[in-house]
């Protein structure tokens, strides 16, 4: 194995953003996408659909849990919420991200 996919930074970023968004409460995929795009100011212009495999993966890792529910407008949708593991993961990722950005900032600020 030459490449360790799970240490992938960009990948991790998306995860972190999703976890962060879900911190406020359960949301369905479309709502996550809308917030994601607002939060990241359209920097992440990946195909919207790519969000879903990422959601499923995080669910499989136990960071998220999902259930079918009804939206305010009475439509059936699958809602995702943060699990305890997910919250821990978010903390860890945030810490690691801060360390990295601080280090980069230090370098840049000389």
């Amino acid at each position: 194995m030459r490449h360790a996919t799970n240490s992938d930074q960009l990948h991790g970023t998306l995860d972190m953003l999703v976890l962060k968004i879900l911190e406020v409460g359960p949301l369905h995929g479309y709502a996550i996408a809308v917030r994601l795009e607002r939060l990241s100011r359209d920097v992440l212009s990946v195909e919207e659909g790519s969000l879903y495999p990422a959601l499923y993966r995080m669910e499989r890792r136990g960071w998220l849990a999902s259930a079918w529910s009804v939206t305010e407008k009475g439509r059936r949708a699958r809602f995702y919420k943060l699990t305890r593991t997910g919250r821990a993961q978010l903390d860890a990722e945030t810490a690691s991200w801060l360390r990295l950005t601080t280090a980069v900032g230090d370098v840049l600020n000389g």
């Binding site: 194995m1 490449h3 992938d8 990948h11 659909g49 495999p53 949708a77 699958r78």
Partner: protein, 871 residues
């Protein structure tokens, strides 16, 4: 019916029950719908809104697949998903799919056809009840010099053995009679295959007549009325399946025979009539009649037990001289007896076909690798969003299996529709009652082959490709074709192995071609151009009538303006046979060679000139005592000067000939026929019983003056007695029939060799083309730095040179070890024939070179700027 409905219901439930997939679908649809609503509120019309939403979302199908990778489903659901996904992939690269499927279809087609022959010849050659109880029996005599000779047992032996009722349940003798089909007359005479059998012969096979009775002991006594059973096909053809056929009669060789039974279908369909074989008191205890003996042993009796028991009841032989020689029973299972002959041919063909399949698999492996490398973006994305490596390997293998199945379906269909033609090419006479067919066993084989070949060509690429995905690299250069082909080395190995296998295969083809060319170059001793033969026979068996007929027909033919000269020869000679009378020369030598009865004009028609003396003339016929011998007989028995010597047969009424000339050796039996001492004699009018034979007319035609069969038939039928006119064949046709087996062997192996060459061409071409496509950027850089087109081509070809060279050398070594098995099929050619090997290496090397050069040349024309921008 019920079972089918149930299976169908289950299958549909399976499709419907894929809950995971449905859930994903619903979730994604919801998303797209929400986005559509948003756009609609912003003022787009419904249709445009939906399109925009979809565009923004990305491919629904792809996302669903990726989502499915992560969420997963049941085993069957995943498999279905894999299959659907795989089909989509195959459609996405149509040229890849078509080349791969055709390649696999070729292998599947030829191997299915061959396997149906193996199935018929080796797996089910004896379609009789309990075939393991069937044996063939011979009597073996030990000679004083230690050699042993095998003879067919006598009827007396058989009846004695049959008294051992605890060992033998049935035993009898039977065979297709004679060298030529017999004339069977049911109103319109035809030449048909007629068999003769003793009592208990059909019973041994377990054959029960569907009408009437079997041949009984009383039918075989000398002087018993002639009785026969009809073969099923002949019963249908000649009697329309008449149920009241028993008791009716037909004529076989102009003798009336009463029908006593009808055999079931499927038992020697070619044989029209089974006659009772009759034994004179002289023939009854004579061994060596050449009629095979079959027996059915009691269940559980081994060959050794049977041999010991029968041996005790086998009297010494008195065949070879006055002193009795101890005789032993030689027993063989009928299976071995039937299948011995197939060994080498089927082994050779299996090997050649196996090579085709392997080469095909290697080709497809190369294609899968190449396509896989183009898909690394897709694979990387799938891996990064959580599809495990096992999942990817399984997906890739499913795609391989789909390819292999498509190939197998096409191949089996081709094999099914062209089976007769393909089987006809295989130089074997399959067991009479077991024709080749695409049946369950054969289909099971095709299925097994499909799975094995999918693993063969799919596993290595699957493992290699599933290892490569890396997200960053692909995200940063999405759509990019990086310069390092992940499978360059693998591709080179594949080319090397492919070339080696193709070389082995093509060496076999080359040797067959060379051998066949040498076969055709053999001097047959006569000039076959413009020679026409005509088979014709009076129904009347009276010697005087037949002889008179042939003489007047020859005269009639000579009168035709198209005919230069005409005569006749014993019809058996056209097939390389002849009668043996073993006459004694006045020197005391016994001439051991075929004696060919001819009418004057025969040798002239064959374009033969005497080496010494003269040919036979019409004037000799009245006296009937002139003969001509060939050069071999002249050397062997007369020290090269036979003229004036005499020959005399033994017996009460001897024939007598004076030798008047010497002619060159003529190979009547074709180029592979032996050269025997031969005598050409005129029919002896004083020994009419020596002339029951059938002659064939032979005539030399004027150049460019064809004679039609209709015309000949007219002349032959106009002359008086009722006759049966057979085929009119140019001597060239006869020769090509004589070399039918080697020609078919040559054609088959050449065909397979050409397939091998084509596959190699495709393989090398696609691998190089792929490498060129991958390296467009590198080529651009080189061109930008001033590399000349020639250099660019050189760089591209370089990658192919070493694998090809490696393949050629390895292939030569492989050919050295494998072509030995066809040694027996080669005529005046060794398996190491240097000319053939050189030609094959040159041809294969040149083809591989061409296949590498074509795509490489394209690389040279790459425009540096656009190549760089392609990234």
């Amino acid at each position: 019916m019920m079972a089918i409905r149930l299976a169908w219901a289950r299958l549909r439930a399976l499709f419907r029950r894929n809950a995971t997939a449905d859930e994903i679908r619903e979730e994604l649809d919801f998303h797209v719908q929400m986005r559509t609503d948003e756009y609609a509120q912003a003022g787009l019309d419904t249709h445009a809104a939906r399109l925009a939403a979809l565009r923004r979302f990305g491919s629904l199908a792809v996302i669903q697949d990726r989502g499915y990778d992560v969420r997963g489903g049941g085993v069957m659901e995943t498999l279905l998903q894999d299959v659907k996904y795989g089909l989509r992939q195959l459609r996405r690269y149509p040229s890849f799919s078509i080349v791969a499927i055709l390649t696999l279809a070729l292998g599947a087609g030829v191997s299915t056809a061959l396997f149906s022959v193996i199935d018929a010849a080796l797996l089910r050659p004896l379609p009789y009840p309990n075939p393991e109880e069937l044996v063939t029996l011979d009597v073996e005599e030990a000679r004083p010099n230690g050699e042993s000779t095998r003879y067919a047992p006598s009827m007396a032996d058989i009846r004695t053995w049959r008294t051992l009722t605890t060992i033998v349940s049935h035993a009898g003798m039977g065979r297709v009679s004679g060298f030529l089909p017999l004339i069977v007359d049911t109103g319109t005479p035809q030449r048909l295959t007629v068999a003769e059998a003793s009592e208990d012969f059909l019973e041994a096979y377990g054959i029960v007549p569907i009408l009437g009775r079997n041949i009984q002991l009383d039918d075989t006594r000398e002087g018993a009325p002639d009785v026969a059973l009809l073969g099923h096909a002949f019963w249908q053809q000649a009697f329309g399946g008449d149920l009241k056929v028993l008791g009716r009669s037909l004529r076989i060789q102009d003798r009336p025979v009463t029908i006593v039974g009808v055999l079931p279908a499927g038992f020697y369909n070619e044989t029209a009539v089974w006659q009772a074989k009759r034994f004179s008191s002289l023939m009854f205890d004579r061994r060596g009649s050449g009629t095979p003996v079959v027996a059915r042993l009691r269940p559980g009796i081994t060959l050794a037990q049977a041999r010991a028991a029968l041996d005790a009841l086998t009297p010494p032989s008195t065949m070879t001289g006055p002193a009795p020689v101890p005789a032993h029973v030689f027993i063989q299972s009928m299976y071995d007896d039937e299948t011995d002959q197939f060994g080498t041919t089927l082994r050779t063909l299996s090997m050649a076909v196996g090579l085709i399949v392997l080469i095909g698999c290697i080709n497809v492996a190369g294609l899968v690798l190449a396509r896989g490398a183009m898909r690394d973006v897709e694979l990387a994305i799938r891996a990064s969003i959580g599809a495990g490596r096992g999942r990817l390997v399984r997906q890739l293998l499913t795609e391989s299996l789909l390819l292999a199945s498509a190939g197998a379906i096409v191949g089996v269909l081709v094999a099914y529709t062209s089976l007769d033609a393909l089987v006809g090419l295989i130089p074997l006479s399959l067991p009479a009652n077991s024709p080749a067919a695409i049946n369950g066993t054969v289909l099971a084989f095709a299925l097994g082959l499909t799975v094995v070949s999918a693993l063969l060509f799919g596993l290595v690429p699957a493992i290699k490709l599933s290892r490569s995905p890396k997200l960053i690299g692909t995200m940063l250069s999405v759509g990019g074709r990086s310069g390092a082909p992940l499978s360059k080395r693998a591709g080179q190995w594949l080319i090397g192995v492919e070339i080696a296998l193709a070389l082995v295969l093509m060496t076999g083809s080359g040797l067959m071609l060379r051998s066949f060319a040498r076969l055709l170059a053999v001097d047959l001793g006569y000039d076959a151009n413009n020679v026409l033969t005509l088979e014709v026979e009076p129904l009347d068996r009276t010697t005087a009538i037949r002889l008179a007929y042939y003489v007047s027909l020859a005269n009639e033919l000579r009168r035709l303006p198209e005919v230069v000269s005409a005569g006749a020869i014993d019809q058996l000679a056209l097939m390389g046979g002849g009668s043996f009378a073993f006459p004694t020369a006045d020197t005391g030598a016994k001439i051991a060679g075929p004696q060919r009865t001819v009418l004057p004009g025969y040798l002239e028609a064959m374009g033969v000139r005497p080496l010494a003396g003269r040919l036979l003339e019409e004037a000799d016929r009245a006296a009937g005592e002139a003969a001509v011998v060939n050069a071999t007989a002249s050397q062997q028995y007369f020290g090269g000067s036979p003229i004036g010597h005499t020959l005399r047969t033994e017996g009460k009424n001897p024939s007598y000939w004076r030798i008047v000339g010497v002619v060159p050796d003529i190979r009547h039996g074709g180029p592979q026929g032996r050269i025997d001492p031969q005598m050409y004699v005129l029919p002896d009018p004083r020994a009419p019983e020596a002339f029951p034979i059938t002659l064939a007319m032979v005539m030399r035609l004027r150049e460019g003056a064809p004679l039609r069969l209709e015309r000949l038939k007219q002349i032959a039928e106009m002359l008086g007695p009722r006759v049966l006119v057979g085929q009119a064949r140019p001597a060239q046709t006869l020769i090509s029939q004589q070399v039918r087996e080697p020609r078919h062997r040559m054609l088959l192996l050449t065909l397979l060799g050409v397939f091998g060459l084509l596959l190699t061409l495709v393989g090398v071409f696609s691998t190089t083309a792929y490498a060129v496509a991958r390296r467009t950027r590198e080529i651009g850089v080189r061109a930008a730095f001033g590399a000349r087109p020639g250099q660019v081509v050189g760089v591209m070809i370089q990658d192919a040179v070493w694998p090809v060279a490696f393949g050629l050398v390895t292939g030569l070594a492989g050919a050295y070890y494998t072509t030995r098995i066809i040694r027996g099929f080669l005529f005046q050619t060794t398996p190491y024939d240097p000319g053939t090997l050189t030609a094959v290496v040159a041809l294969l090397g040149a083809t591989a070179g061409l296949a590498a050069w074509l795509p490489a040349r394209r690389a040279a024309s790459v425009d540096p700027l656009s190549a760089l921008r392609a990234e």
